[in-house]
Amino acid sequence: MGYRYGWGRGRGRGMGWETAQNFPQLPPPVGVRYAAAVDTNAGLDSIISIRAGRAPFVAFIDISGNKVVNVAVHPNPAATAPGGAGVMLGQWLISSGVRVFFASRIGPNIGMVLNQAGVRVEIVPPGTRIRDILARLGIIA
């Protein structure tokens, strides 16, 4: 049962609304994929944003055997969504194979969606660095 990345080819009919076509497709995870809603694009030193659905960036970290295999920080297309940003982001995380999501808070909608998809949410203080969270949780050495 593989993951499908992105969906629908082509742009549809140019819906005026932000839709899934705007999300970057990520390569499949190597090991376990973590994600974090961050304010900065600084790899593992990116800091957790006070926002979740509308965080300016989302960091994806693939970890295999206690080692960071890959870090990719993308601008978050849901950041400018007029509404439903949390769910949009949730959909991107699910389709990207994320297993654990770090954020400083999440709304009930994205919470329910991630829960149903089996994505674990870890609430962490805003301003913390990804590197420190991973170390504290014993995920990396």
């Binding site: 049962m1 969906w7 629908g8 819906m15 005026g16 076509q21 439903g84 959909q91 909608n109 329910m112």
Partner: protein, 290 residues
């Protein structure tokens, strides 16, 4: 004649004026229906000790996913403008009811026709009587968000059933948004009930913007007139500047007493100042002065 009794600010006395006006007109042997559109918290019937019976339920459209037919293609997710659908790839489709506004795009685009019309309960419409006054009350189910749809349904029901009545009095909810706009639409006359306070005036000014954009005829009722500490000259100046006729309903402890005891002031204290003022309003309406 359809008369909408609104105000912008909550607590100015819309319901008291609407109910008493309706009772006055009904007592004068006109055919009158009173429609409670304050669906978040309807109170008209508390002043009339009317027994209510449910005449209709109000449903909201929502999509229903037939899981057996769903191929998990995600086309519906792509076309949902509010992101109320989420695909767990290979597994299932999630529907987030609280985000759905019922546009129906998902039904249109599903290649498997796996999404059909479903519905959820939003509220109810109730009816009752007080002597010869007919009462229609709309009520939103607590926890539901779509007050506007319950307002629409209640209004449509009342206009259909009582369309040959002499007077239909609409008790409008506070605010200036879509629900109030929809409720104002069929009105021949808007009675804006305000109070002589800064907040009352401020909200009345905003409400007047809505009224003018809809090109409706309106008059103002300054309720609680004489409230100590209130503002008067600014309020009158605003109304006179706009050329809006206004009536004064004096601040009257008897009115408060009647309200707290679930009675109409014109029946309970017919000689008190506020009753006389409301009766005066009723007479002017009967004479077609507005």
């Amino acid at each position: 004649m359809i008369i909408a009794v609104g105000g912008g600010k909550g607590g100015t006395g819309k319901t008291v004026i609407a109910v008493n006006l309706a009772v006055y007109l009904a007592n004068r042997n006109h055919k009158v229906a009173l429609v409670d559109l304050d669906v978040d918290n309807p109170c008209t019937y508390t002043l009339l000790k009317a027994d209510l019976r449910i005449v209709s339920h109000v449903y909201s459209f929502k999509p229903k996913i037939i899981e057996d037919k769903c191929s998990l293609c995600g086309k519906c997710v792509e076309n949902c403008p509010l992101h109320a659908l989420v695909l767990i790839p290979g597994k299932k489709l999630l529907f987030i009811e609280t985000l759905c506004e019922g546009c129906g795009n998902c039904i249109i685009v599903c290649p498997q026709q796996a999404i059909v019309e479903g519905r959820s309960l939003l509220g109810k419409i109730m009816a009752g009587e007080y002597n010869n006054l007919k009462l229609v009350v709309g009520e939103l189910k607590p926890g539901e968000r779509k007050s506007d749809e319950v307002i629409d349904a209640t209004l449509n029901y009342a206009l259909k059933v009582f369309n040959n009545y002499d007077y239909i009095i609409l008790d409008i909810p506070p605010g200036t948004g879509r629900g109030v706009y929809q409720a104002f639409k069929p009105a021949d006359l808007i009675v804006a009930v305000t109070e002589p306070t800064m907040l009352g005036l401020h909200d009345l000014i905003k409400l007047s913007k809505l009224i003018y954009s809809m090109k409706k005829k309106w008059i103002a009722v300054i309720n609680k007139y004489g409230l100590p500490g209130g503002i008067y000259s600014k309020l009158k100046a605003f109304l006179e500047d706009k050329g809006v006729k206004y009536l004064l309903v004096p601040y009257d402890l008897n009115l408060v007493k009647a309200y707290m005891n679930g009675k109409t002031v014109i029946m309970e204290y017919p000689e008190t100042e506020s009753s006389k003022a409301i009766i005066n309003l009723g007479e002017k309406i009967e004479k077609g002065e507005f």
